[in-house]
């Protein structure tokens, strides 16, 4: 791209999907009335003491496991001291010296090239309250204060916006599939910052760093990083330099803008949190957590393709966890998974989107779905006829056979008979078939005539035509 080598590191904050907060038993929720999900601990009242939520530890162990991190067995928390209204204790409880996870990686693929994105460390901390700036006032909502977070920090090991994007997509997929977090960037339950610098040669020290804060979407991560690389390139090209700084991505501008220049390094005066004694992670805790990890996205894609599903469909299934979980139930059944994936991603997805339902909210039990797949496979139900009875299949509980019988769709059950006639006509008229394939339209009319003749006019012409075209493919 240019004569400079970009270096990118990414820090991601993820809110954990627990019932309650990290150090108090008030509810961990989103979208509720301001200051309705708090207690004296979240508000930092004097004399209160934090107690670590067991589930936070479990989810952090789970995240560390799927991010291939080593898990620390003995750890403590630290106080990060700073004065700002989003944290009335004047310190955030975090893990500075003993992060629960370290030395991990996730594997991504960009333009066909696989790369391991190395994770430096992953630690547990508390979220701060949400502040909204209105003119000369700042409004504080403590519902978010004390929501459990994990912060995942990569090594400066990425070289493009696209790599950072691929990493974030992979991270989101893993944490979403393992129920560590709902990873909703728009609701702030996943937040990404990127550190960007450029240098001429691998042997040079890293260039001056710009930090891009709180990027609102994964797509914008790639855009903002590439824009920042461009900006730094221009500065160095014109012989200038710049100071370390914090920038943010402006969606409307499509570019990063300066927030502040960092004259001095941060001075958080970390020291160990004396209110929380040591935390020990035992083998038993890890074993119990590992048991709850479902089949991961990459594994799912691999298995689906092995079982005959196209790569495109395998990817689409994994992008929709509800469908993928449903599909997994079929993996050990003796059925046609290719047809199953086509049905789920085609007509059934269409129905689900239109009716704003998930697959488990329909009446399509595994048994009924297997029956449907069989019907499609032996052509006793065509795609066209399926459309007519799909609503019934997904809303009623009777067997597929019963629906076909009572739906009043004529000729449905005759499809196999028509298909037999069509097949024999095709077999008997190889010359016309060749003509058709060479692009002679009249040939199909001749073949159609033969089908009607052979069926003594009893075949539904429209269905017969569909089957004929299908069989000629």
């Amino acid at each position: 791209m240019s004569k400079y080598i970009p270096t990118i590191g990414v820090e991601v904050h993820v809110e954990l999907k627990t019932n309650t907060k990290i150090f108090s038993n008030s509810i961990n929720g989103y979208g509720e009335m301001a200051n309705s999900l708090t207690n004296v601990i979240d508000l930092g009242y004097p004399g209160t003491l934090p107690t670590l939520n067991k589930e936070v530890l479990n989810l952090a162990i789970k995240a560390a496991t799927v991010l291939n991190c080593k898990i620390r067995r003995e750890m403590h928390f630290d106080r990060k001291n700073y004065f700002y209204p989003d944290n009335p204790k004047n310190y955030q409880i975090t893990q500075s010296r003993t992060p629960i996870g370290y030395d991990g990686y996730v594997e991504v693929e960009v333009n066909g090239v696989k790369k391991k994105i190395e994770i430096e460390e992953m630690h547990i901390e508390e979220d701060t309250c949400k502040s909204t700036h209105r003119g000369t006032k700042t409004l504080l909502d403590f519902n978010r204060a004390g929501v459990p977070l994990i912060e995942i920090v990569t090594k400066p090991c990425m070289n493009s916006g696209e790599e950072a994007k691929a990493y974030l997509e992979k991270l989101r997929e893993l944490l979403f599939y393992t129920d560590v977090s709902d990873c909703k960037i728009e609701e702030g339950s996943m937040r990404a910052d990127a550190n960007v610098s450029i240098r001429k040669n691998e042997s040079d020290p890293f260039g001056t760093k710009a930090e891009i804060k709180n990027i609102g979407s994964i797509t914008n991560v790639a855009i903002s990083i590439n824009k920042e690389i461009e900006r730094q390139t221009k500065i160095y090209d014109s012989g200038e330099t710049f100071k370390p700084q914090t920038r943010r991505y402006d969606d409307k501008l499509g570019d990063t803008v300066l927030m502040r220049v960092k004259e001095t390094g941060n001075d958080y005066r970390y020291f160990p949190e004396p209110d929380i004694p040591f935390v020990y992670v035992t083998d038993e805790m890890i074993e119990n957590v590992v048991k709850t990890i479902p089949m991961l996205p990459d594994e799912r894609r691999k298995v689906y393709v092995e079982k005959g599903v196209s790569e495109v469909n395998a990817n689409k299934l994994v992008q929709n966890r509800a469908l993928s979980d449903y599909f997994n139930e079929l993996l050990n059944e003796n059925t046609n998974l290719k047809i199953a994936s086509n049905l789920l991603l085609g007509d059934i997805s269409g129905y689900l989107n239109k009716n704003e339902k998930t697959i488990t909210e329909t009446t399509l039990t595994k048994e009924r779905f297997l029956e449907l797949i069989n019907r499609m496979e032996d052509n006793t139900l065509t795609s066209k006829n399926l459309k007519d009875i799909l609503d019934k299949i997904l809303e009623e509980t009777v067997s597929i056979e019963e629906i076909i019988k009572t739906s009043g769709i004529e000729n449905i059950t005759d499809d196999s008979a028509i298909r037999d006639v069509v097949k024999s006509v095709i077999a008997e008229n190889p010359g016309s078939v060749e003509d058709y394939k060479a692009g002679h339209d009249r040939a199909i009319k001749y073949l159609m005539g033969q089908v009607m003749k052979a069926s003594k006019g009893s075949a539904n012409p429209k269905i017969a035509m569909d089957i004929l075209v299908e069989e000629l493919q």
Binding site: T20, T51, K54, Y82, V279
Partner: protein
């Protein structure tokens, strides 16, 4: 050894604590803070090979809490304890850009 911190050091600490100090206070704190630091240095002379000692004087593990919700405050109780509020929000003077 100096008997005081430099003015810059004290001003830096004041800045971190977001407090304004007068010239006379500055001089006083240069000496007082230095005395505190010296006391801390004394403590640092104690030999500890066990890192744990720095955090807690017992090695019992922290007690973990079950993830079960308990009693919360109402928004009214929350704002009643704040100097100012706007609706259910606690209101403070605007400060931008210094989040952690």
């Amino acid at each position: 050894m100096d008997d005081r911190l430099s003015k810059e050091e004290v001003l830096h600490v004041a800045e971190l604590a977001r407090i304004a100090i007068s010239e006379s206070e500055l001089e006083k704190y240069q000496i007082q803070l230095k005395q505190i630091m010296d006391s801390v240095d004394k403590i640092k002379e104690v030999e500890v090979d066990d890192d744990q000692m720095l955090i807690a004087n017992w090695s019992a593990p922290t007690k973990l809490r079950e993830d079960v919700e308990g009693k919360m405050l109402s928004p009214k109780e929350v704002i009643n304890n704040a100097p100012r509020h706007s609706g259910n929000y606690i209101e403070v003077p605007v400060v931008i850009g210094e989040e952690a």
